[in-house]
């Protein structure tokens, strides 16, 4: 570029050279702006019930996050459900992914496509059909129906993530383990599972996020139980407590810290191996 002076005006040249960076920054800004607004308004002290207009700075909501009735209860319920749903979906989904990737059995292709149905189906349809199922079997709505519903839709994400990993795995690695005196169980625990671990972890993280965040399916199958997303929805009808912004900000910060810690650990491991 510098070798061809006078070809195009200087600002244009600058733009061309930095377009990728600019596009990246613009995308980042687009993604982060809502989070910034949420964070800023978590320090607001609104006059009415609605936290839509900036009044003045205050840390009241941060120091008393549980002051709003039912907020912390719904939050802990959502966390518990997300935890158990993640566990259930990960265990079942990993087993299913191995079965689908490794074995040839009757109805394999049918199962394979059925597993993906929850991902493709409109959420509200699945919510309604699950509710019908629970009603007809006479199960009382609550924690357990929410958990079962969440495991159902998380399952397909875990299966997708783990199956991709297992399919791309060199079968010779397991044969090498067996050749090196590892029994089938040892082979699974020492070779297969660790290699599939990134896929399993990705599926689990996705499950946690999806379960914690879910509103439509939960709303249909919760009965009188209130999860965090349902609480936020309900609160929004009557006013928005600042504490919701506090919880949102806290979760965003925790997630970012987790990612940073992971990257730091990764680069440190690389550096220590190099030295």
């Amino acid at each position: 570029m510098a070798a061809a002076p006078g070809r195009s005006p200087r600002p244009l040249r600058w733009l061309r050279r930095n377009l990728v960076v600019l596009a990246g920054l613009a995308t980042l800004a687009y993604l982060l702006l809502p989070n910034v607004v949420v964070t800023v308004f978590s320090f607001n002290k609104p006059n009415g019930r609605f936290n839509y207009k900036w009044q003045r700075f205050s840390t009241d909501a941060w120091t008393h996050p549980c002051d709003v009735d039912g907020l912390c209860g719904s939050l802990s319920l959502s966390l518990w459900i997300a935890l158990w749903a993640t566990l259930g979906a990960t265990v079942l989904g990993t087993a299913a992914a191995f079965a689908l990737a490794r074995y040839r059995f009757r109805a394999r292709s049918t199962v394979s496509s059925l597993v993906f149905l929850p991902m493709a189906m409109p959420e509200v349809v699945m919510a309604a059909s699950l509710a019908t199922l629970f009603l007809n079997t006479g199960v009382s709505f609550g924690f357990w129906t929410i958990l079962v519903a969440h495991i159902t839709f998380c399952l397909s994400f875990v299966v997708t993530a783990v199956k991709a990993r297992v399919t791309s795995m060199d079968p010779r690695l397991e044969q090498a383990a067996q050749d090196l005196y590892a029994t089938p169980l040892q082979t699974f625990l020492r070779v297969t599972l660790p290699i599939a671990a990134p896929g399993i972890a990705a599926g689990a993280l996705l499950s946690f996020a999806l379960s914690f965040d879910d509103f439509v399916i939960t709303n249909f199958n919760a009965g009188s139980t209130v999860t965090f997303p349902m609480f936020v929805w309900g609160a929004a009808q009557r006013g928005t407590p600042v504490q919701i912004n506090v919880i949102g900000t806290a979760m965003f910060v925790i997630a970012v810290l987790c990612v940073l810690a992971g990257q730091l650990a990764g680069s440190r491991r690389k550096r220590s191996r190099r030295s």
Binding site: L173, Q175, A176, A177, Q178, D179, Y181, T183, R190, V191
Partner: protein, 391 residues
């Protein structure tokens, strides 16, 4: 297998009537094979000839359809791979990507509960000159280093038999030559029986004491590399191992010690011992001669050809100079209908008259020829992919 066998205790491998079928496809036809203890044995063949399947049946990774595998007198046919006293160096190495080099090499020791893993692994890594790399992951190593890790990971268990499945296939030519010598050295040092699968005829001949040439699920011929090369018994072996000129000839006289043949009106001699057993007067057979055994003489010097040598007329079609030698293709009436006769001439004293179009005499010592049954495909073994040409 929970004991560590002391080094220098390779055992023999006996395959009795072993075969492998996949549905209607027979990968390996019933096969009897004995690999003597402590020898370097190569299974040589093109891809899909059944050599890897045979190796995997010895390792226990493939269940034979019939027959049995006996290692040092013990029938191991029913044993799973993790109970067999053999270890494998896999094609593309199959190093565990989630473990570092140290843990890769230690894997077998840990599974068997061997004490002082650290010392053993340290010694083994020093042996393959990778002590510095102990804490690296496999993907951080070069191909040659990964290959050495794979060998170390197998050898540290002191197997009775080491199985090598095309272990050098992924390396470049120079590194491959180096590793061939290295493996041969290790084998001589540890005295373990090596069974090596390869499609590279040069590799098999350089390294192995005994080579079994496999084709379409059968062993075509088995023997020392020099015997296979000098006296191939089938056209496949003649063409797959190096290059052969095969001349279709008629038997004129099979009575004496020397069989007299005729091809395109030219009389040719062949010692009776180098003929197929059933050759009778009037039969057809294939006379084989290696390109480097033939001498080229310009037709003007025909009187200088010593008596008692087989001599054939021809005209040079092409001449390719490759430094150490010149490779000629010569059209000759005895080779009518083929691509011509190949002749390799060492570049010692080059005759400037030997250019394309020149009339020449091709002559060779009758004892260097070999006779083959004419009832086989003359081009068998020429149309397989060797990976690389002879150099």
């Amino acid at each position: 297998m929970t004991e560590t066998a002391p080094s220098g205790s390779g055992t023999d491998v006996c395959l009795a009537g072993i075969s492998k079928r996949y549905g209607t496809f027979t990968a390996v036809h019933p096969l009897d094979l004995t690999v003597p203890a402590g020898s370097f044995f190569a299974l040589l063949g093109a891809s899909g000839c059944g050599k890897t399947t045979t190796l995997r049946m010895i390792a226990g990774l493939e269940e034979p359809s019939t027959g049995s595998v006996v290692l040092g007198g013990q029938d191991v046919t029913a044993l799973p791979p993790y109970k067999r006293p053999v270890n494998t160096v896999f094609q593309s190495y199959a190093l565990f990507p989630h473990l570092d080099i140290f843990e890769n090499v230690a894997f077998g020791l840990r599974r068997r509960g061997v004490k002082s893993v650290k010392r053993h692994v340290g010694e083994m890594l020093d042996l393959v000159q990778l002590g510095e790399m102990a804490r690296r992951r496999p993907h951080e190593l070069s191909g040659g280093q990964q290959q050495r890790v794979a060998v170390a990971r197998a050898l540290i268990n002191h197997p009775r038999v080491l199985l090598l499945d095309e272990p050098l296939g992924a390396l470049d030519l120079k590194l491959r030559r180096q590793m061939q010598l290295e493996l041969k050295r290790i084998q001589t040092e540890v005295g373990i029986t090596f069974v090596h699968v390869t499609h590279d005829q040069e590799e098999a001949m350089t390294m192995a004491d005994t080579v079994a040439v496999m084709n379409a699920g059968r062993v075509e011929q088995l023997g020392a590399p020099a015997d296979l090369y000098e006296t191939p018994r089938t056209t496949f072996v003649a063409n797959f191992l190096g290059t052969s000129n095969l001349i279709t000839a008629e038997v004129l006289d099979a009575a004496g010690d020397t069989v007299v043949l005729r091809a395109a009106g030219t009389k040719l001699a062949l010692p009776a011992g180098r003929c197929p057993a059933a050759a009778r007067t009037g039969d057809k057979l294939l006379l084989g001669i290696r390109p480097e055994k033939i001498t080229l003489t310009h037709a003007d010097d025909a009187d200088t050809v010593p008596a008692g040598r087989n001599s054939v007329r021809g005209r040079i079609a092409t001449a390719g100079f490759i430094g150490v030698s010149t490779q000629y293709v010569v059209d000759s009436p005895v080779a009518a209908g083929t691509a011509g006769l190949s002749v390799y001439v060492q570049n010692i004293e080059r005759d400037p008259r030997l250019v394309p179009g020149a009339e020449v005499l091709l002559h060779w010592n009758p004892g260097h020829g070999f006779g083959l049954d004419a009832a086989q495909r003359i081009e068998a073994g020429t149309d397989v992919d060797l990976g690389e040409g002879p150099s």
